[in-house]
Symmetry: C2
C-alpha cells in the first residue's frame, strides 16, 4: 500500500468536510421546504452540531501540517490547494467561541426579526441587530488580519472570492448615473405603451405544478437528480447530485410561480454542471455567489424573458391554461413580465431598478462594518438612501430596512453579488450570442440547450478553478464590464 | 463556573451523539420518502460519515474514563448511565474496519437484492448475502465476547435489549401449537360467513390523503411535530420532535392507505410520548423494537380494528367517500379487514398467521448465525419451513426467502420483535381495558384518548428506563404472557 501524499490526505479531509456540508445542506432544504413548524429548535441544534464537526475537521493540526507541505504541478490540483489554504485561513482566523456566539446571536436575531418585520417595529429587533453587528465586526477584524483585506472585503470574500469594495464601488456609481438618466426615459416609454392585460385565472395549482416541472425539465433540469417543491420564499438548495428548487403557487396568478422556477432552475443547472471529477473538493464548488446569481439570471432574465422565449412561452401557456389568447401574445407578456416600476421591495424589483436596492444596501453595510453608521440610525439612513436613488420613501420599516433577512442573520457583504451577477449574466449572454449561432432560434422553440452547452464549458465546468473576473475574461474577452448590462437594459426597455 | 461531573459530561456527549443520529434519521427519511433516484450514492456517503462521526464520539477515551467513575443516586440517571455503558460496550466491541466492511457489504448486498427479488433470482444475490452473513457472524462473535451473551442473543440485544432466544423460543413453540389448532377452526368459521363486499371506488387520492391526515390527528398525532407523506413502503421515521410517517395510496382501494396510517401513527405517538426531560439521552429513547411494534399494533390491531372503532370508522368512511352504505357496515368491514388467510408474504399477513412468518425467520436466522445453515441452502429451508408452519409452498423465491430486506441489509435478530410486539400489544390492551373504563366507548366515537393517556404513563413516558418485561410487569402485573394474545385472537376470529 502506498502512503498517500499530503495532497491526497487533504482531498480526503475536504471530501469529508464537504460531505458533512451536504448533510447540513439537505437539512437546510428540509427546514425551509417541508419541516413541521415545531421542529425548529431541534433542527437548529442539528445544524449547529454539523457546523462544529465540519469546522473541527478543517482547523485540525494535521490539516495545517499537510497544507504546509502539499504540492502539485497539476493546474486543477493547484487551484484546489489554493482554495484549501484559503478555507483553512478563514476558518482558523475565527476563534471557536466567536463562531458559536455568532451562530447564537444570528439565530436569535433572525427569530425576533420575523416578528419585528410583521409588526413593522424596528426598535424591537434593534438591540439584537446591534449584537449581530458587534460580533460581525469582530469577525471581520479577525478575518481582515488573517487575509490582509479590509474588514468589509474580508466579509465579501466569504461570498465572492476575489472581489472587494474597491472593485464594486465605481461600477455601482456608474450604474447610479445610468439609472438616473435611464429610468425616467423608460417610464416615459412605458407610458406610451398600451395597458398590459392580465391572463384570466384561475390557474389550478396542479396544472401550474405540472407546467413548472415540465418547464424546468425543458430547460435542462434532470429530475433524477432534482426536486421541485413549494416554499414561502422560492430558493434553490441541496447538493450537486441532488438539487432542490422551490417555488410558490398562487391560484389566480400564473406569473410568480413560473418566473421563480426559471430563476431557481438557473441556479440548479449550475450546480448540476459543476465538474464532477472534483466533487466535494473546493475547486469543484461554485465560483461564488455572484457567479451563482449570474447563472440564475442568465436563465431567468437573459434567456427566458427574451422576445424569443417569451413568444414560445406565451403559446405554451395558452395551450395549457386556455382562455383568451390575447394576454399570451408576446407584446402583452413583455409588458407584464418586463415592467419597470420604482418600488420599495428588492425581491419584487425589475431588472433596471434592482441594482438601486443593492447599491443602497452595499453603502449602508459598508458604513455599519466601518463603524460609521449605528444600528439606531439605520432606518433613517435607509429611507434617505432609497429616496436619493429612486425618489421614493417607504411607508414603514417593514417595507424599508426590515425587508431582507440578510443582516438580521449575520450576512454582511452578500448583497453586491446580486448585481454583479446581473451584470455578469448580460456580459455572458452577449458573448454566447456572438460565439454560438442559433441561441435565439432555439429559445424561440423553448430550447435552452445551445446556451446551456456554452455555459457548461465556460462557467459550470470550471467550478472554482478561476475567479469571477477570470471566468468572464476567458469566456467573453474582458473582465466584468458593466456596459453589456446597460446595453441590454436599453435594448430591452427602450426599443 | 462549576466543573461538570463525569455524569454531566457524559450527558453532553450522548446528546451530541444523539443529535448526529437525528441528522442521520432525517436523511434516512428523506432517502425513503422524497430523495430523487440519482442521489443514492451521495446519500450513502453522507450517512456513512454521520455513522463514523457518531461512533468516534462514543468510543473516545474520555467517554471510557467518565463511564468508569460516573455515579448517581437518581433512578433515571442510573438507568441512563447503565444504558450509556451498554452502548459504549457494544460500540467498543466492534473494530472500526469491521463496522466499515459491514456497512459496505450490507449496502452492496441490499442493492443487488432489489434486482434479485424483482427477478426471483436468489443465486444472483447469494454470494453477497454470504458475505453479509460472514461479517455479521464476525460481529456477533465480537459482541458475544464483550456482552457475555450468545452470538445470536448479542444481535437480538441490539434491537430489543434484555430479550434472548431462550425467552423467545418457548413462546414461539407454544404459538405454533396454538396456530396448528386454531387456524383450521378460524378457516371453517370464516367459510360459514357471508362473502365480504368491497366498497366501490374510485377513492380520489386527495380525499384519501385528507382522510388519513384527519385520522392520524384524531388518534393524537400533532402535525406541528409530524408529517404524513407517501412512500413505496409505509414506515415511520424522524425524531421525537419531528416524527414522519408515510403511507401508500391506491385509487381503487381505500383500505391499504388507512391501515398503514394507523399502524405508523402508533409508532409516531410512541416517539412523541417519550420523556422529553431525557431527550437525546439513552434513557429517553424507545425501549426497543418489540416495544415499538407493540405501540404500532396496539393502535392498529387492538384499537383501530376493534368492533367499536370499526363501527365508527365505517360511518366516517361512508360520509367521506359516499356510495353504497352496506360495505361500510361493521360486519362487512370486519370481514374485509380481519380476514385470516394463509399466504406467502409476511407484510400482507393477518394477525393470526403473521407469527408463523416470524417463527420461520427466527429459526432460520438462528441457524445461519450458528453456522448450521449455509446461505446456499436457505431457499430450500425456507420453503420446507413455511410448509411445516402453514402448509403452503412459495411458487418462487421472490415470494419466499427474497421477500424481506432485513437479512440482505445485515439485520439479523430483528424479526422476533414483530411478534413480541403483537403479544405485548394484546397484553397491554387487556390491562388498559381493565384499568380504564370507557376505552371502547371512546373508540366507538373515533377517540383513542383514554387508551393513549394510559399508554403515555405506562409505556411512552418510561422511555428506556425499564426493559420490555419490566414495562409489561408494571403495566399489566405480569411479564410477557402470550395468553393474552391467544385470547384476543380467539375472541376476534371465533366469535
Amino acid at each position: 500500500m502506498t502512503v498517500p501524499s499530503a495532497y491526497q490526505r487533504l482531498t480526503a479531509r475536504f471530501a469529508l468536510i464537504a460531505t458533512i456540508g451536504e448533510c447540513a445542506s439537505m437539512l437546510g432544504w428540509d427546514a425551509a421546504a417541508v419541516m413541521p413548524p415545531g421542529s425548529g429548535a431541534a433542527r437548529g441544534d442539528q445544524l449547529a452540531v454539523l457546523a462544529v464537526l465540519g469546522h473541527e475537521r478543517l482547523v485540525a493540526p494535521d490539516v495545517a501540517a499537510d497544507l504546509a507541505v502539499a504540492e502539485t504541478s497539476d493546474e486543477w490540483q493547484a487551484a484546489n490547494l489554493r482554495l484549501m489554504r484559503h478555507a483553512y485561513a478563514r476558518a482558523k482566523a475565527l476563534p471557536a467561541d466567536l463562531v458559536e456566539a455568532q451562530a447564537k446571536a444570528n439565530s436569535n436575531c433572525e427569530k425576533v426579526w420575523r416578528i419585528a418585520r410583521k409588526n413593522a417595529d424596528f426598535r424591537m429587533v434593534q438591540p439584537h441587530l446591534a449584537e449581530v453587528l458587534r460580533l460581525t465586526r469582530e469577525a471581520a477584524a479577525a478575518l481582515s488580519d488573517a487575509l490582509g483585506l479590509s474588514p468589509y472585503d474580508a466579509l465579501m470574500d466569504g461570498y465572492q472570492h476575489g472581489i472587494g469594495a474597491d472593485d464594486v464601488a465605481p461600477v455601482f456609481t456608474a450604474y447610479e448615473d445610468f439609472l438616473t438618466a435611464t429610468l425616467p426615459e423608460v417610464e416615459a416609454y412605458q407610458a406610451r405603451q398600451p395597458q398590459a392585460v392580465l391572463p384570466a385565472g384561475p390557474f389550478p395549482i396542479g396544472l401550474q405544478e405540472a407546467f413548472c416541472r415540465d418547464l424546468a425539465q425543458r430547460l435542462g433540469l434532470d429530475f433524477d437528480h432534482a426536486r421541485l417543491d413549494q416554499s414561502a420564499h422560492p430558493f434553490s438548495g441541496g447538493t450537486p447530485t441532488d438539487v432542490r428548487i422551490t417555488t410558490r403557487y398562487v391560484e389566480d396568478d400564473v406569473t410568480s410561480a413560473i418566473l421563480a422556477v426559471v430563476h431557481e432552475t438557473g441556479h440548479a443547472l449550475y450546480e448540476r454542471g459543476l465538474p464532477s471529477a472534483y466533487a466535494r473538493q473546493p475547486v469543484g464548488e461554485a465560483a461564488g455567489m455572484a457567479v451563482h446569481e449570474s447563472q440564475s439570471l442568465i436563465v431567468e432574465m437573459q434567456a427566458c424573458r427574451s422576445d424569443a422565449f417569451l413568444g414560445w412561452m406565451g403559446g405554451h401557456l395558452h395551450a395549457t391554461f386556455g382562455g383568451s389568447a390575447e394576454p399570451y401574445h408576446l407584446e402583452n407578456l413583455g409588458r407584464l413580465w418586463r415592467r419597470v416600476e420604482r418600488g420599495f421591495i428588492r425581491v419584487d424589483a425589475d431588472e433596471l431598478t434592482y441594482p438601486a436596492h443593492v447599491i443602497l444596501r452595499f453603502r449602508l453595510e459598508q458604513a455599519m462594518i466601518a463603524g460609521d453608521l449605528a444600528v439606531a440610525d439605520l432606518p433613517g439612513a435607509w429611507n434617505d438612501g432609497l429616496h436619493a436613488l429612486l425618489g421614493i420613501t417607504p411607508p414603514d420599516d417593514a417595507q424599508g430596512c426590515l425587508q431582507d433577512i440578510h443582516w438580521y442573520d449575520g450576512a454582511f457583504g452578500y448583497f453586491p453579488s446580486y448585481t454583479l451577477g446581473a451584470m455578469s449574466a448580460a456580459q455572458l449572454m452577449r458573448a454566447a450570442r456572438q460565439q454560438v449561432s442559433g441561441i435565439d432560434d432555439a429559445l424561440g422553440r423553448g430550447d435552452l440547450s445551445p446556451l446551456l452547452a456554452w455555459l457548461r464549458i465556460h462557467v459550470h465546468g470550471i467550478g472554482s478553478r478561476l475567479d469571477l473576473d477570470t471566468i468572464l475574461e476567458q469566456a467573453t474577452g474582458s473582465k466584468l464590464d458593466p456596459v453589456a448590462f446597460q446595453a441590454h437594459l436599453r435594448q430591452r426597455y427602450l426599443s
